[in-house]
């Protein structure tokens, strides 16, 4: 393997996730040097800083800091500004809430001052000194803040950054003056491709003049606060209407988020908002590029004829007793929550009868129904796969991380993947499943890993 050309070894390493890449760092000098000298691979390895661990990372950062692309700050770090001097090519900075817990945080302000100072130098078109030039490289900024003071300080200091491609903002509460700061900050971005605003009670005024933005968004995520719409949506959201029209040609993912599940008023107004948006303002020929994510109960599919060209859709579930699902001939990818109808073949047939073109189906389970459901699917696999004429892949998630895969359930055309949130907490059930699927000679990838964890 060591004799493979360097470019091929890099291709192989590039397929690996963080965890495997970290293992490869310890395999040999050759592997380690390949990874440390590849900006692409180093970009995959986040630099995670917190109070207890950060000290140990100083030497590494001094040595390899110019390759570090991502920093996640989890704690208040008194020495962070010193470390940033060595990370000249930083692409992504994640500042989570704990970093801002001290309102009078002189060190944090020092960091932000330092970044701002560099911005000023570049604006004056002076030859750039060989010190931190942060803002030119910053492409991804995620900010999670709980208090007003930090919001104001950060956005005042970040004011001149305009190189972001991804901006994610989570704020619990906000005053009007800070609201304007954020609005101005976003409008400064010229290359933004992904915008996510959650928990921020923005209104239509926030999008005033946004239709004139130069950025072309591929992904837009909005929290439910924005959806507290009433009737006459076009009058209520004239600015957002213009903004959406200006962006819909580029949008690939529209995430309307998770709304207040038990608040019927919000649910209803959100449905109306979504229907309005798709019916009136999302041109049907552009829907084919769009993945719509709409995590809500009772998805209003009976009103969905106007988005018949949609190709990819994620929603929680639709109560098939109250909702007739029109044919979704173009839909190739569907991601739904486990539903009690799925426990019988007739229920499954009824539920999916109109999704005639599905190629990928993703079912998420959240209860203890998991293993019974998996066994049900296995025992009824021939009937199950008859429902879908074009299905190439089925994924069943019981929470999150992929733990094992079994393949060739029915024939060679369909791949099935099962995942769960946390294999350690689900260990007793996994033992049962492994035994079950072993008994039927199903190939379980990563089985060795599980045997190790479970000490089988």
């Amino acid at each position: 393997m060591e004799n493979l050309p360097k470019e091929v070894l890099l291709i192989i390493l590039d397929y690996l996730d963080n965890s495997s890449l970290k293992s490869c760092l310890l395999v040999s000098h050759q592997f380690r040097n390949l990874i440390l000298n590849s900006a692409i691979l180093m970009r995959k390895l986040p630099l995670i800083l917190n109070e207890s661990q950060g000290i140990n990372k100083i030497e590494f950062i001094k040595k390899h800091g110019n390759l570090v692309k991502t920093i996640i700050v989890k704690d208040h770090l008194f020495y962070l500004s010193d470390l940033l001097k060595f990370t000249l090519n930083l692409n992504k900075l994640v500042l989570v809430d704990k970093s801002f817990q001290y309102q009078v945080n002189q060190q944090l302000m020092k960091i932000i001052d330092m970044m701002n100072e560099e911005v000023l130098k570049s604006l004056q078109i002076q030859p750039l000194p060989k010190i931190i030039n942060f803002s030119d490289h910053l492409q991804h900024l995620t900010i999670i803040i709980n208090n007003e003071f930090s919001t104001q300080e950060i956005f005042m200091k970040f004011y001149n950054i305009n190189s972001l491609k991804i901006f994610k903002l989570f704020i619990k509460s906000i005053r009007q003056e800070n609201f304007l700061l954020i609005k101005k900050f976003i409008s400064n971005q010229k290359n933004l491709q992904e915008l996510s605003i959650s928990n921020l009670p923005i209104d239509d005024k926030f999008f005033e003049n946004y239709h004139e933005m130069k950025f072309k968004l591929k992904k837009l995520t909005l929290g439910w606060d924005f959806m507290k719409a009433t009737r006459n949506l076009e009058q209520k959201f004239p600015n957002f209407y213009k903004f959406l029209n200006s962006q819909q040609e580029y949008l690939e993912v529209m995430n309307l988020g998770h709304c207040g599940a038990y608040d019927e008023t919000i649910e209803e107004s959100k449905h109306r908002f979504m229907e309005w948006m798709l019916r009136a303002h999302f041109k049907s020929n552009l829907q084919k590029n769009l993945k719509l994510i709409y995590d809500t109960e009772n998805f209003p599919l009976n009103e969905s004829k106007k988005f018949k060209n949609l190709k990819k859709l994620r929603y929680w579930f639709c109560d098939s007793f109250n909702c007739s699902i029109p044919n979704q001939e173009k839909l190739i990818e569907l991601d739904v929550l486990y539903h009690e109808n799925f426990t019988t073949i007739d229920g499954l047939k009824n539920y999916f009868r109109n999704f005639v073109s599905l190629e990928k189906l993703f079912i998420r389970c959240f209860d203890d129904v998991n293993d019974n459901f998996l066994i049900f699917i296995y025992e009824n696999r021939f009937e199950f796969f008859k429902i879908f004429k074009k299905l190439k892949g089925l994924k069943i998630s019981t929470y999150g991380y992929v733990i094992f895969t079994f393949t060739k359930l029915q024939n060679d055309e369909i791949k099935v993947e099962i995942s769960t949130m946390n294999y350690e907490s689900c260990a007793h059930r996994i033992v049962g499943l492994i035994s079950y699927f072993n008994a039927i000679k199903t190939n379980i990838v990563e089985k060795e890993k599980f045997e190790k964890i479970l000490d089988i």
Binding site: M1, E2, N3, L4, V8, I11, H29, Q53, K392
Partner: protein
């Protein structure tokens, strides 16, 4: 030369150890390297050009490559650029079976796919190696791929300490 002609003429290739293989033009054009060579020959060149020498591919490997390109000759092949965005969600079961081979053969196949510039085959074969690496410890990776452990005890202690930069605790 019109390489998109409806007929599919025979083409011969010769491995580094002198074995000649015959295949079709449509199949061999999946190789970007050979496609470039043929495109430079010009009018009427294919029928008269003789066997194409492939100095970097031995006969055992070339036989495997030809099996793959002949199976995929009618499929639309992604470009190197398109491969970069490709996810590993669904692999053709034929390809999965095809790649069931020992590691030495797989390395030779990867080297050949790289040399012949067959992006899809390179993607499949390198991905196969990546899947073998996944979720293994450094020692397991060394054992599986027969890689020499060239760390001294002092070095391994130092790099393990250094590695803490990407470990969340």
């Amino acid at each position: 030369m019109d390489i998109d002609r409806p007929s599919d003429p025979q083409v011969s290739v010769v491995s580094s150890d002198g074995t000649m293989f015959h295949t079709t033009l449509k199949s061999i054009l999946l190789s970007g390297t050979i496609k470039d060579m043929i495109e430079h020959i010009g009018e009427g060149g294919v029928e008269n050009m003789g066997a194409i020498p492939l100095q970097n591919v031995d006969s055992k490997t070339l036989e495997i490559v030809i099996k793959w390109i002949e199976h995929h000759k009618d499929n639309i092949q992604p470009t190197s650029e398109e491969i970069k965005d490709k996810t590993a969600d669904f692999i053709d079961p034929w390809d999965e079976n095809f790649l069931e081979m020992d590691l030495d053969k797989l390395y030779n196949l990867i080297t050949a796919a790289n040399y012949l510039n067959i992006p899809q085959l390179l993607w499949l074969s390198t991905r196969k190696i990546a899947m073998l690496i996944k979720n293994r410890t450094p020692q397991e990776i060394r054992s599986l791929f027969n890689i020499e452990d060239d760390w001294t005890p002092q070095e391994i202690e130092a790099v393990q300490k250094e590695n803490q930069w990407c470990e969340e605790k």
